[in-house]
């Protein structure tokens, strides 16, 4: 088990390195750089900027240097000093901008994850045990429906309904009075009141998928000989179900963490733009538009790292849950 953990951790290092390169290439792909984008933006507002100033800025930001040098500056800053570089657009260090937003992204994703599991687990079990019952059909239909509705559309519809019928605006994660306030119980409660909409919106698709997965896994397990043999030893159906097939179906269910978390993190980007949540999503979008490369790059990099950690946690959890790996 310890060997497994060490191997798994070591494996993450080249992976992260490769991701940082890919990320850097992606943010370098658009033609031009932040300053050409800035000039274009100013030009569209009929303002001009002195080419000398631009050249000065370009030198200051190091944008005139070869790509490899720029990459090295960026990555060595992160590795050695935890410095993610400077946001050109905000004229602030990237780390100052992203940490609070990243934390909120994680909080939203984790709460959604718990919501998804809490809903999908019992419904999946019910659906499998009562296969082809009315309840199963309803769960199946809503499952497919949940997969078919784009999350941003769901967010829009929810916003429309609450605006239209309750006259409420439900964007954001905080009420105005708490927006810039320090953390307090009041602020936490306020967060929770706002949280349910993004959680529901974000979780619907994954919940639907997990219900299908749980159902399929459990149906698989229910027909396994060891379940039949346990029944032949006189166990009652409920006890049998909970002890054997559900336990076995738990493993593939946990392994879904590996893709549910990235899915949530990435879905959160779109949803938070629609719901104007103070998470990384809207920041990334504006950074990409402005070609604010260190900001955009750092966000993509950190989200990828989050994903890697998610898969790591799921692998470790899985190994711990599976006696074949634990004792192997």
């Amino acid at each position: 088990m310890a060997g497994f953990l060490i191997r798994r951790l070591l494996y993450m290092i080249p992976m992260m390195f490769a991701i940082s390169i890919v990320t850097f290439i992606i943010i370098q792909l658009p033609p031009g750089d932040f300053l050409t984008a800035l000039t274009a933006r100013l030009a569209s507002q009929n303002e001009t900027i002195d080419p000398g100033v631009i050249a000065g800025l370009r030198e200051r930001y190091g944008l005139d240097q070869p790509l490899i040098v720029q990459y090295w500056k960026w990555i060595s800053g992160i590795l050695l000093r935890g410095d993610f570089g400077q946001s050109f657009d905000w004229n602030k260090p990237v780390s100052e901008l992203i940490w609070s937003r990243l934390n909120l992204t994680m909080v939203v994703s984790l709460i959604t994850l718990i919501f998804v599991w809490a809903v999908a687990f019992p419904i999946g079990i019910y659906s499998a045990v009562r296969q082809y019952s009315l309840g199963d059909y309803i769960a199946t239909f809503f499952g497919f429906l949940g997969l078919a509705i784009p999350s941003f559309l769901l967010a829009l519809v929810l916003m429309y309904f609450s605006a239209h019928y309750f006259g409420l605006s439900i964007g954001g994660l905080f009420s105005p009075q708490y927006m810039n306030a320090a953390w307090s119980w009041g602020k936490l409660w306020d967060l929770m009141k706002h949280m349910w909409i993004p959680v529901v919106v974000l979780g619907t698709g994954a919940t639907a998928a997990l219900i299908r997965i749980m159902r399929a896994n459990l149906l698989d397990e229910l027909n396994k000989p060891y379940v039949d043999m346990a029944r032949a030893r006189g166990l009652s159906e409920t006890r049998l179900l909970l002890k054997y097939p559900v336990r076995a179906a738990l493993n593939p269910f946990v392994s879904t963490l590996g893709w549910v978390l990235p899915h949530l993190v990435s879905g959160a980007v779109v949803v938070s733009i629609v719901l104007s949540l103070p998470t990384t999503g809207p920041l990334l979008l504006t950074a990409l538009f402005a070609q604010d490369m260190y900001l955009a790059g750092s966000i993509i990099l950190l989200m990828s790292v989050l994903t890697l950690i998610g898969t790591l946690v799921s692998d470790v959890l899985l190994a711990w849950l599976d006696p074949r790996i634990r004792n192997g």
Binding site: K224, R231, A232, G234, Y244, R247
Partner: protein, 354 residues
């Protein structure tokens, strides 16, 4: 030689009257278990009657599709999905002095039936690996069933489980309680399954092809173990197999099945040396013998086992039977005929003078 059709029920009554033979542990009477699938009705077990004496081994033998395994499961009232016992009776009489209990009448999921499973009737199956949960230790699974049926405390149940594991020849049983099924070898795994099935000291063990997946040397060990346990516990065993060698090795009585029906029953020596049904005869002849010289042609049975959806009219075996009489075997369904005491065959050629 008695030559009148007679049902098992009448017959066993006769036997009981005649000489103080104790009543059998299980009497299966005209059992029908059918499967209702999309592709049509499959009469997997179609009017099967036989009995299992106390402390003896009854082998149900047949080729694939004969309904032998479903017969075994029916006794547990635990038929796979899509199937159910349609009619018939399975009279279980744990105490000869008491009236029998009809298993067919019990709710398959009900409390009474569950109290029999594991406690009074144990089951072992073909795939010992698949029969054990990969997520629970052997000890966990054993203690569970012991506590369920024997109402023991945790510690007592554990002692009992270790004792049972030792009984089936698991070395260092106390240590192996903490092991998982995948940590055992094939033969040891089947021993664990036997221990699980016998942990509540049932009266009947249903063994469904328990040695088919094992190597021949391991099979020998398991067969010996079963014989020993049977003697020790006065266990009745219903042994389902397709291997006539295994039947000869361990059976006291043999039930030969073909297409969901019993074609012949009798004690093992009679079945092997004086079979009455053409199918039994042909089946025995078609097995290659170790002690016969090679290079001779094996006698065969023509054709193939028919698909379960297209059962032939009349006697199910007639299209493959060398002795079939046109106009008789393809029309009439044979009734069981008593050939001699305890030897019954369902063949029209024995019914009237051929």
């Amino acid at each position: 030689m008695l030559q009148t059709p007679m049902s098992i029920k009448q017959m066993s009554a006769v036997v009981r009257e005649r000489g103080g033979m104790p009543s059998p542990l299980i009497e299966v009477d005209n059992l029908r278990t059918h499967f209702f699938g999309n592709a049509g009705l499959v009469k997997a077990v179609d009017g099967v009657s036989f009995s299992i004496p106390r402390g003896k081994t009854v082998c149900v033998v047949g080729e694939s599709g004969s309904g032998k395994s479903i017969t075994g499961r029916s006794i547990l009232n635990q038929v796979p999905r899509g199937g159910r016992i349609v009619s018939g009776a399975i009279r279980y009489r744990p105490d000869p002095a008491q009236p029998p209990l009809d298993i067919v009448k019990l709710d398959p999921r009900g409390k009474e039936m569950r109290a029999l499973r594991g406690a009074q009737i144990g089951l072992i199956s073909q795939e010992p690996m698949a029969a054990l949960s990969p997520f629970h230790t052997i000890g966990n699974q054993m203690v569970e069933v012991i506590r369920l049926h024997l109402k023991m405390g945790r510690r007592e149940a554990r002692e009992h489980a270790i004792e049972t594991l030792a009984l089936v020849g698991i070395p260092r049983p106390a240590e192996r309680m903490e092991s998982y099924s995948f940590q055992f070898s094939g033969g040891m795994r089947q021993r664990v399954c036997i221990a699980l099935a016998l942990s509540c000291r049932p009266k009947l063990l249903i063994a469904d092809e328990p040695t088919t997946a094992l190597d021949v040397t391991t099979q020998a060990n398991i067969l010996d173990l079963l014989s020993r346990l049977q003697a020790d516990f006065n266990l009745s065993v219903l042994f389902v197999t397709h291997d006539l060698g295994v039947v000869a090795e361990i059976a006291d009585e043999v039930v030969v099945m073909y297409l969901g029906k019993v074609v012949e029953t009798g004690d093992v020596d009679t079945i092997f040396h004086a079979p009455a049904h053409p199918y039994t005869k042909a089946l025995l002849q078609s097995v290659p013998r170790m002690h016969a010289g090679g290079a001779t042609r094996l006698p065969t049975i023509d054709g193939m086992v028919p698909s379960p959806f297209e059962r032939p009219q009349g006697c199910g075996f007639h299209p493959r039977c060398a002795m079939a009489v046109h106009g008789l075997c393809d029309r009439e369904v044979p009734e069981p005929i008593t050939i001699s005491e305890g030897h019954v065959a369902s063949c029209l050629l024995h019914g009237e003078n051929p």
